[in-house]
């Protein structure tokens, strides 16, 4: 007799399986196929090999694995793919998830703990999934005297603002969601939304700790926005452009951190403050005000705010890479695509696979650029996470003193360095670049 299921009967097990199969087939026929066809009729389908991909043909194409490549390729040029999958939300969320896991493990090692260990077979690698399931299954508790519309809207707005920030970051040449001419100004405009959302969320909870945390967050974010914007002006002066893709492309010979180290340091410190990371984590100081402005958030609302925070962390690290570390530029390490796959196919023993006419889904430059960008972003994220295991929290008057006097002064020093390089002819027209 099994301990897990003491009343186990094989006949009932088989019956339940048959039941499930019956319901799956029924639902697929009645709901699934009509839904698929309705979606296929609504989506504008691509022309492949001079033949329009009608909804009826779509399923035959999908059944043929060698002819599915043009369909995938056509899908990858659409805006939906860019927003949802590669340079947009999916890619950023993947990196954010990796960041959370690395942060927990690394902090544990720094403090001689083990960290997440039991979820998953190897070193607690499924801990994040477990936490996500826990957050989804938890009840969302709204405080009785909260301002409900704002309280509900604030986490969603936070994730939306973070996703808008992610949309400006170019990952590889040509791979960016919103390639706008004034990208850096757009970034400044999006950063300006975070304090509003924070203070509205904090106020609407109608509770002491969130309100104190929200006021602190407002102080911190608004006062550090000024050195943040000033520290990036040097790069804009040297590049002569506000387009983030152009700024990244302009660093093919050397990154700007070589000439503007002061600006990079100021931007890194303001970045820590905007992200509420540990030397500046006054808005969520756990030992003083419970969890700061997150205190009353529960269940998936808290999960959304955490997702937004880590998306914002990725976006800030990506911005640092694009502005100071050269973006996607770097040595070409990805090998070129094997040409015989396109013409003859590959023969392994008795089996010949191919030829695959539509195969290079991504170009060599794009793969290499993505690899370089991810490596550099990972490095920057590591340096953002590191102070959490090392530094204590600083006082609020020290924080404001640092932001309003020292960092703004250093940012002006950086601007004068950039102007000096420009007028001395070292950089810019007639100089090195």
């Amino acid at each position: 007799m099994s301990v897990i299921a003491p009343k186990f009967k094989l006949s009932e097990f088989i019956k339940s399986l048959l039941d499930n199969i019956f319901w799956i087939i029924l639902l697929l026929v009645l709901v699934g196929f009509p839904a698929v066809f309705m979606i296929l009729f609504v989506i504008p389908l691509p022309v492949i090999d001079g033949e329009l991909l009608t909804p009826f043909l779509a399923l035959t194409w999908l059944a043929d694995p060698t002819r599915i490549l043009p369909v995938v390729q056509a899908f990858m040029t659409t805006d939906i793919f860019r927003v949802m999958a590669f340079p947009g939300f999916g890619f950023a969320a993947l990196l954010a998830a990796g960041t959370i896991f690395v942060e927990r493990k690394m902090l544990a090692k720094l403090q001689l703990r083990v960290g997440p260990f039991y979820c998953g077979k190897f070193e607690g690698i499924l801990q994040l999934m477990g936490d996500g399931l826990k957050l989804i299954s938890k009840e969302i508790i709204i405080p009785a005297k909260a301002d409900k519309p704002i309280f509900w809207a604030a986490p969603v707005l936070f994730v939306a603002a973070a996703a808008a920030f992610v949309a400006f970051i170019p990952v590889a040449p040509g791979w960016v969601v919103a390639d706008v001419d004034l990208g850096l100004l757009g970034v400044f405009a999006v950063i300006g939304f975070f304090p509003i959302i924070t203070i509205l969320s904090a106020w609407s909870a109608n509770s002491k700790f969130p309100f104190i945390g929200g006021i602190r967050a407002l102080f911190q974010m608004v006062s550090f926005e000024i050195p943040l914007i000033l520290s990036l002006l040097g790069v804009v002066m040297l590049t002569g452009s506000l387009n983030l893709s152009e700024i990244a492309a302009s660093q093919s010979v050397f990154p700007w951190i070589v000439f503007l180290p002061v600006g990079a340091i100021v931007f890194f410190i303001t970045m820590l403050a905007e992200l509420e990371r540990i030397p500046f984590d006054l808005p969520e100081a756990e030992s003083e005000i419970v969890a700061g402005w997150l205190t009353e958030l529960s269940g998936m609302m808290y999960g959304l705010v955490q997702l937004g925070t880590y998306l914002k962390l990725y976006a800030f690290a990506g911005l640092f890479v694009v502005l100071f570390l050269g973006g996607w530029n770097g040595p070409m390490v990805v090998p070129p695509f094997p040409a015989e796959l396109l013409t003859t196919g590959i023969t392994i023993g008795p089996i010949t696979a191919g030829p695959f006419p539509g195969l290079p889904l991504f170009t060599q430059e794009m793969l290499n650029g993505t690899l370089m960008f991810v490596l550099k972003t990972g490095g920057v994220i590591f340096f953002i996470l590191l102070p959490r295991g090392v530094f204590p929290r600083i006082r609020v008057d020290m924080l404001l003193n640092l932001g309003w006097t020292k960092l703004i002064g250093l940012a002006f020093v950086n601007i004068f360095i950039a102007l000096g390089l420009l007028y001395a002819g070292v950089l810019g027209p007639g100089g090195l670049q």
Binding site: D147, I150, V180, D181, L182, L185, G186, F188, A189, I191, G192, F193, P195, I196, I199, L200, W203, I215, L218, V222, E225, D397
Partner: protein, 170 residues
């Protein structure tokens, strides 16, 4: 398409402006004010001036609205809701509004807005910057001086002699 967007933006801007004036809750009023300022930014986008639009969002929605929210949250409500009913004030206010609207309208009509051509390409923001430091440099310096004066004045106002700070040890 542009007409529909224009109408939607006009509805958002004017509707949230009315809401900002009429709502009893001060917080919702300031959120509605953010809607108004964001709608104005949308108008700038429609007019092919994304530079001005993004600065409108960054400065007005991002900073001014935050300042108003912050003030509203920290000020006692009784001080704001003390109503003064006065007929002479009311009529003076309406008269002032009419004078301002008529004079602004006269300025607009006199500015040659009727003969403007709409097919010209949008000016580059670099040209605006070059104009600022060449032809309009007195205005730039004047604005800088006014801003510096207001910052200095607010610092003087915010300084308090009566608070002794003996807890801080730098």
């Amino acid at each position: 398409m542009a007409d529909a967007v224009f109408l939607a933006l006009a509805v958002i801007t004017i509707g949230s402006a009315i809401a900002a004036l009429e709502l009893r809750s001060l917080i919702y009023g300031s959120i509605a004010l953010m809607g108004t300022l964001g709608g104005v930014a949308g108008f700038f986008f429609l007019l092919d001036a994304p530079f001005v639009a993004l600065f409108q969002i960054a400065v007005y929605v991002g900073s001014i609205a935050v300042l108003i929210l912050f003030t509203v949250m920290l000020v006692k409500r009784e001080l704001i809701f003390k109503k003064i009913e006065d007929k002479r004030r009311k009529f003076a206010g309406i008269g002032l509004m009419l004078i301002i609207m008529v004079s602004l309208g006269a300025v607009f009509l006199d500015s040659g807005i009727k003969t403007i051509t709409t097919d010209e390409p949008a000016p580059d923001f670099r040209d605006i910057g070059i104009d600022f430091v060449t032809y309009y440099w007195p205005a730039l310096i004047l604005m800088g001086l006014i801003l510096a004066g207001s910052v200095t004045g607010s610092l003087v106002l915010a300084r308090r002699e009566d608070v002794e700070n003996d807890q801080r040890a730098n």
